[in-house]
Amino acid sequence: MEHLFKIISKPDNLPIVLMLVLTIFYTWFAMKKALQNDRQGMPEEAKQADKVQVWPFLVKVEFLGALVVMVILTFWSFLIDAPLEEPANPSLTPNPSKAPWYFLGLQEMLVYFDPWIAGVLLPTLIILGLCAIPYIDINPKGNGYYTFKERPFAILTFCFGFLLMWVALIVLGTFFRGPGWNLFWPWEYWDTHRVVALTNVDFTEKFFGVPTRLVDDSLNPLAMAIGGAAVVLWYAIPVVYYFLKRNTDLIRKMGPLRYGITAFLFMTMMAVPVKVILRLTLNIKYIVVTPFFNI
Amino acid sequence: MNKTLGIVLSLLVAGQVLAGDVAGKVVFEGTAPKAAVLRMDADKVCKAAHKEPQRSEEVVVNANGTLKNVLVYVKDGLGNRKFDPPAKKVTFDQIGCIYVPHVVGIQTGQELEVINSDPTLHNVHSLSKENPQFNVAQPKKGMKLTKKFEKPEVFKVKCEVHTWMGAYIGVFNHPFYAVTGDDGTFTLPKLPAGEYTIEAWHEKYGTQTGKVKVDAAGKATLDFKFAAK
């Protein structure tokens, strides 16, 4: 445990700890308020027609906030020196090589996916998805106040996508990934010479006994077909759901395009933990292997 | 200057009140080895300087059974006392291709005057280890050379031209030393009261040490014995 403590207490990891604390606090705070509002109904402030001007009433408070941050930063810099390390050396990469802390979740993805999926496709989808939210979110409720009951899907998706997939993976990447990007438990010492058994196999081989590659090292079309089918089945779930629930209010309001985009983004997001769990529990390497990309 | 003067003065005063002489003799036991005759054929001047053949001075046993040319000195017990070198020069002569005296003591900082009294070339080569070595030629009769030594040690002096020539110089940082003469006795005068280790050195027989206590009353005696080898 003292190893974990040592890592946590490193000056360069302080922002992550702070972020963790703030994230938990604000989530708790928002949920508390939301519950309160759900029980008591919409709060007065949200209903008020009478609004105040930004200048000077908001700016005054914001300036106070700026002062607080400045005070904190000043005292922080007195107490802790800049955590500089050795000069960068192109012929000598550090082990483990870690991205800036806010990208460690993405770096963690590299363990489970091809670089271009983890590093290009997924981040692009995240950004595009975030851009799309105002267009696909047609629920007008919850503006200016906290509520859970009125937008459970949105909040749960956020909790899953941000808290679990983003924050938790950053924590994992920072505190539990040691030399060689190996996973270390909090009580383990980060040993440079740690050896990890490499026993991953592909999905088709594991479950259907169909190897990905033939004896001459060319791809097995049967394995490709099975893997492809699994992926298609995965994305078929929302289609089935659409037909089952096509008469509900919500789906009708959304329309097929909005529903399609939302469902694609949602299923892609959900696919990530599925792959992670498959890898961690069943040592599945890839679901489908194609000449162009592997999933 | 003022400080050292003070020390010397106080020592002088103390010496007069609390000082004693250490005296004794150096006895030789056994049969004296026969001294080798020096062959001076290589230089006519040397040969002509002597009517009778000269013998080596390595071991000279006196008629009374004492040993000549033994250097006796205080080895230990003076502490950190400092002694100013006497102004008087020590003379070290080369007469008839023989060093006179054969063993000589000198104090650090005191001047040694090396004289060539022969009408031939001599060179004085010191084989010192602590002090810088010197090797100076004296091609003419009456030439003089003055040297000072900074560090205490006993070393040999030789002449390369005349291979038989050799002598020993003992350098001390105090004035309490003596060389035994024809009667084999020595006196270390006016030693301040105290306990001392006295050492006797001989070029062939090495060193012997003895302890002596000098009290206010004065005299103390100490004898040394060297045995034939």
Partner: protein, 870 residues
């Protein structure tokens, strides 16, 4: 409170308390920053204050001491003199004289003006008179006027002369007064010189500001991306006393640097401290500046012996560094231990293999001996350089089989018929062995003085204590007569033994038997399988790193390059199953102590086990620490120019042939002197050989040293300069090496062209006779009968000088022989540069030396060498 506050409408909320509190905090922060800046984060300020206080008190002591050392009587006297002299400057007489002087001077000025006026008037009259003459009428009035004025001038001149003389004499008297005062003042100053020196120093330190002392070296470093980078060095901010004489015994960090000579060429004012000591130059607190508290600083302070490692950054090409004996020692250790055989080491890739070639081993010794040797060399000879490969019995047997098999194919044949060695006397052989110089390299039994003088844990040549049980006498006879016959690359020189001497030595050495009872083992040497296995063993263990082995001439180095080993990370080091602390230093120490220490059941290690002493291990570790790719910018490095290259090339030849076993060279060596009591029998110091002897002579001598006996340079020395059978290239390198050490370059010089000064010749002859040079030096064939003390046993034949010595060197030699050749029998005739002959050549010592030299040049025949200098 917040609840209440929430009741107030936003427009009416008051934030002034928050603002006041936050502003207060910000103000506090600013104050904190100021305090940090001035005191808490600036420990160097405290150090500087402490230093100045300490220096002040020490200087005070020095001032008092210097004052106490002044002869107070003399000072009082000098002061009285000065007082008197000063008083006399203010005395009545001086003042009166001064007045007289001034009055005279004034009068002189007046008189001079009168004279000038008269002259001017006369000139005018002259002009008019001349003009009237030209116009044809002679103006006599003007002529009279001219004459009048000329008469006046003469009169004035007379007065002026008198006045001038008066003035001069007065001035002389006045000057005497002034000079007296000046002299008296100088006398006082002279006595107070030391006191004043320390006082000035103290004043300077007292006025020194408290500030950061910084040395900046532009473009000194390169960052990992190869861009130039400046180095900032602030060590002297705390280490203020590095150049302060009084700080000799002061505590750190104020202590004076212990090696001022080294600093003379590596000035901290130019280079700072970190180029040698490493550390984090820009930091200003001890732990960070030494780099030991900064985990990420890659160049922590080098402590203890390790400090010499940094020499390599600039001097990697030089194997001897005059100012760094530890560094020189480490390099020699590395070269002699043959590290370069298996590892690539920058700058040392073309060194010769250190072991003998193994082409004809069956002629030399028996398979049983070879087997025991490769199995455990230290068992036969504890001081061998051959390390222990920890071979299994079977591996050793296989290696023996291979070596024997290739030896069978060798074309070697003994020069003399078998059995020709017989008939020697062991008794005489021992005498020859102990006189001609074998012991310079070879130890026998208890004769270990040379080994001890050398101070290494290994010998440079095999110990011969058990050689009688090792070698074949036919081989030994062949070997001692001409070692290169058996092994053309051997370092063993030819000692020019006569046949009977060689027989005696063989007889003696064959008596040196291995008396131990050794277990024997049946060896299978003939089977093809065994030989093939042996080849594999030898190849795997890299025996060819040190030995030339037939069939493996082109094999490369078997182990890793050490070129950047000093920067190897602990993470990259394998500590095996040991509990050795995980540091670079501990890993290297343990590896060198026992190279198999980190071996595990899976990781096989092949590096053999050496038997270095702890001191040697730390030296080698320092050398390894020096193996980095760090290289300062060229402008900070002494250029490794042509002369340096020549010196280094020759140095390596000299090192290869172990010249230093006998000769002192570059302040080291002459180990053989530990067994030669008489200093006159010591082999000469050859550091200055380049300045001493003529190039042609040295060439001839290195090819074929002068024979023993009456015609050699030093016939009285029994030890022989052996014939090394050097190649032309090696001789050439040695020539340039010796010349380079003396600051000279190899050039053709015709020494026969040197002409003695005919005017000096008779004087030279006279001095030569006065000094009785012939008392020791022969000049011609000697006539001494055997057994008699002969002059030729004392000093070199002066007839040789002309063909051997450089004319300018003779003069330097005569001035002080002991300075060039310590312990020489040659005395100086000019102690302290004074000639004992004050009547000759006005007592000019230098001229007298030239006269002797010129006279020497007339002795003997001019030598025309037939050997060309390349």
């Amino acid at each position: 409170m917040f609840k209440q506050r929430a009741q107030i409408p936003i427009e009416q909320r008051n934030y002034s308390t928050y603002y006041v509190v936050l502003s207060g905090l910000l103000f506090l922060g600013t104050m904190w920053a100021v305090v940090d800046e001035i005191a808490t984060r600036r420990p160097w300020k405290h150090h500087q204050k402490e230093f100045y206080a300490l220096a002040d008190s020490l200087l005070q002591q020095r001032i008092e001491q210097a004052a106490a050392e002044i002869d107070s009587f003399a000072l009082d006297e000098a002061k009285t003199h000065l007082k008197a002299a000063q008083d006399s400057l203010h005395g009545d007489r001086y003042r009166m004289l001064m007045k007289q002087y001034e009055a005279t001077a004034e009068k002189l000025i007046e008189e001079t003006r009168e004279y000038q006026f008269a002259k001017s008037r006369g000139d005018e009259a002259y002009y008019f008179y001349k003009k009237s003459r030209l116009e044809g009428k002679e103006d006599l009035a003007q002529k009279r006027k001219l004459e009048e004025n000329e008469a006046q001038m003469a009169q004035h001149q007379k007065v002026m002369d008198v006045l001038q003389a008066q003035k001069d004499s007065l001035l002389a008297i006045l000057n005497e007064y002034r000079q007296n005062e000046r002299k008296a003042r100088n006398a006082v100053n002279d006595l107070l010189k030391n006191v004043e020196k320390w006082q000035t120093r103290r004043e300077r330190l007292r006025s020194a500001p408290i500030e950061i002392r910084q040395v900046m070296m532009l473009d000194y470093d390169r960052n990992p991306f190869n861009d130039p980078k400046a180095r900032v060095d602030r060590c002297q901010t705390c280490h203020l006393g590095w150049n302060e004489e009084v700080m000799e015994n002061a505590p750190e960090p104020y202590k004076k640097h212990p090696l001022p000579d080294l600093l003379a060429t590596h000035s901290p004012e130019k280079f700072g401290c970190t180029p040698c000591h490493r550390g984090q130059g820009a930091a200003l607190t001890a732990g960070m500046a030494h780099g030991e508290d900064d985990h990420y600083w890659e160049n922590p302070l080098l402590r203890g012996k390790d400090v010499w490692a940094s020499c390599n950054e600039c001097h990697e090409n030089e194997s001897i560094l005059a100012g760094a004996p530890e560094f020189t020692k480490a390099k020699r250790l590395m070269i002699e231990s043959g590290c370069h055989g298996c590892h690539e080491i920058k700058g040392y890739t073309d060194l010769p293999k250190i072991g003998p070639q193994l082409t004809g081993i069956s002629f030399k010794t028996t398979p049983t001996w070879v087997y025991r040797w490769v199995k455990n060399p230290k068992d036969y000879n504890r001081h061998t350089r051959m390390p222990d490969f920890k071979l299994t019995d079977e591996e050793a047997e296989a290696a023996t089989a291979y070596l024997m098999a290739v030896s069978e194919k060798s074309a070697f044949a003994f020069a003399a018929p078998r059995g020709a060695y017989a008939g020697g006397s062991a008794q005489r052989g021992k005498e020859v062995f102990e006189t001609v110089g074998c012991q310079a390299c070879h130890v026998v039994g208890a004769m270990t003085k040379v080994r001890e003088a050398r101070g290494t844990s290994y010998d440079i040549a095999p110990e011969l204590t058990r050689v009688g049980s090792k070698v074949n006498p036919d081989w030994l006879y062949d070997w001692v007569r001409n070692p290169r016959h058996f092994n053309p690359t051997t370092k063993m020189p030819n000692l020019r033994l006569t046949d009977s001497e060689a027989k005696d030595i063989v007889a003696y050495l064959m008596t040196l038997k291995d008396e131990r009872e050794l277990p024997s083992r049946e060896l299978d040497l003939a089977s093809e399988q065994m030989i093939r296995r042996g080849e594999k063993v030898i190849r795997e263990y890299g025996c060819n790193g040190c030995h030339l082995i037939p069939g493996m001439e082109k094999e490369g180095r078997v182990s890793v390059s050490l070129s950047n080993f000093g920067r190897k990370k602990v993470d990259e080091m394998d500590f095996g199953d040991t509990h050795v602390p995980h540091t670079w230093h501990d890993w290297v120490y343990n590896k060198l102590k026992n190279s198999r220490v980190f071996q595990t059941d899976r990781i096989v290690q092949k590096m053999p086990v050496f038997s270095f002493t702890d001191d040697e291990i730390t030296s080698l570790r320092m050398f390894l620490l020096a193996q980095t790719k760090d290289e300062p910018d060229k402008r900070y490095v002494r250029p490794f120019d042509r002369r340096q290259q020549n010196i280094e090339a020759g140095r390596r030849v000299a090192m290869n042939y172990n010249c230093q076993q006998c000769h002192q060279l570059e302040k080291d060596g002459a180990y053989i002197t530990s067994i030669i009591e008489e200093t006159a029998f010591h082999p000469p110091i050859i550091t200055g050989e380049g300045a001493k002897v003529q190039e042609q002579w040295l060439y001839g001598f290195l090819r074929q040293p002068s024979p023993v006996g009456r015609n050699s340079v030093r016939p009285w020395v029994p030890t022989r300069m052996p014939t090394f059978q050097l190649t032309e290239d090696e001789i050439n390198k040695l020539q340039k090496y010796f010349l380079g050490l003396s600051g000279q370059d190899l050039e053709l010089r015709d020494y026969t062209a040197f002409q003695p000064d005919p005017k000096l010749l008779p004087v030279g002859k006279q001095i030569f006779e006065d000094f009785q040079c012939l008392k020791c030096h022969p000049a011609g064939t000697t006539t001494a009968k055997p057994g008699e003390v002969s002059t030729s046993d004392l000093a070199p034949n002066l007839q040789l000088a002309r063909g051997r010595l450089k004319p300018e060197w003779i003069v330097v030699w005569l001035a002080d022989p002991g300075k060039i050749q310590e312990g020489t029998r040659m005395p100086t005739f000019f102690p302290d540069g004074q000639s004992p002959l004050p009547d000759v050549l006005d007592g000019d010592a230098h001229k007298q030396m030239m006269a002797i030299r010129d006279y020497l040049w007339t002795l003997g025949q001019p030598v025309r060498t037939t050997v060309a200098v390349r």
